[in-house]
């Protein structure tokens, strides 16, 4: 499945970015949801929309993902976001079955605060990243 392949590529890119995992204190990168008792700092990425372009016979996909750092402190979440940005903005993904990573760039910022089950704040800071990939 192209979506699975792209998400595997995104996870692999983030989980193998040493500056990011050092910032997190581990490979705390999650697709869609973090575990119930998450670490102090982590990354979540979520599919937002997009799909096949269908503008030529050559298949290509144009999709949008939200990728953000989550932490109890705003500064800590921002630091994680900085490493995400360095890893992804105008970077590349290796997507199985898809030959060309045409475009990967940040488009919009995400910055909001939630409360966890104990009432403590959790800051989410990151961005929307657009990926355009082309089939083999």
């Amino acid at each position: 499945m192209p979506v699975t392949a792209l998400e595997t590529a995104l996870y692999t890119k983030l989980a193998n970015t040493s500056a990011l995992t050092t910032e997190l204190g581990g490979t705390y990168v999650y697709n869609t949801n973090a575990p119930q008792n998450p670490p102090a700092k982590y990354v979540v990425f979520q599919y937002q929309g997009g799909g096949d372009v269908n503008d030529t016979k050559q298949r290509s996909r144009n999709v949008l993902y939200a990728v953000y750092g989550v932490a109890q402190g705003r500064a800590a979440a921002a630091a994680v976001d900085g490493q995400i940005d360095t890893a992804l903005h105008l970077g590349s993904l290796t997507v199985s079955g898809w030959a060309n990573n045409l475009w990967l760039a940040r488009e919009r910022d995400v910055n909001f605060t939630e409360q966890d089950s104990t009432g403590r704040p959790r800051h989410r800071i990151g961005g929307f990243y657009r990926a355009i990939i082309d089939e083999d």
């Binding site: 503008d55 030529t56 016979k57 050559q58 045409l102 475009w103 760039a105």
Partner: protein, 133 residues
């Protein structure tokens, strides 16, 4: 039963180079020239059809690296060859059109945040042959 067709079925080629994999839009246009043959007693302009003419244009998503270079190189400005299009593909009895043409314009805009799309234009050097595969 009647029905329509879409561009995903199309076959396009110029000078033997198949172009339909990355094409986005192909527009062949047939035109004809006339001369004025109005005479003094006429109350409206009268025309005489003279010569057929035509042109075609195409937008084509740029290919990268070794896949893209041959297409661009095979399409030099001034190139002469057979421009062929089969809007419903090349199955037996599908409509086929072809004409000798010159490539008269090629434009490679470069767009920072999107895929690059080339533009090609031809001018016909003969009458279109409309037949079937």
């Amino acid at each position: 039963m009647a029905g329509g067709y879409v561009g995903s079925a199309a076959y396009l080629a110029f000078g033997g180079t198949v172009l339909d994999t990355f094409y986005r839009n192909f527009t062949p246009t047939q035109t004809g020239a006339t001369v004025d043959q109005t005479s003094g007693a006429d109350t409206a302009i009268k025309r005489l059809f003279t010569l057929k003419d035509g042109n075609a244009s195409m937008t084509y998503r740029a290919e990268t690296g070794t896949a893209g270079t041959p297409i661009w190189a095979l399409m030099p400005i001034g190139a002469s060859g057979t421009l062929e299009w089969g809007p419903e593909g090349t199955a037996t009895s599908a409509p086929r059109a072809h004409v000798q043409a010159f490539l008269t314009a090629k434009t490679p805009p470069i767009i920072y945040n999107d895929v690059t799309v080339w533009q090609f234009s031809w001018e016909f050097d003969d009458v279109i042959t409309e037949t079937v595969y």
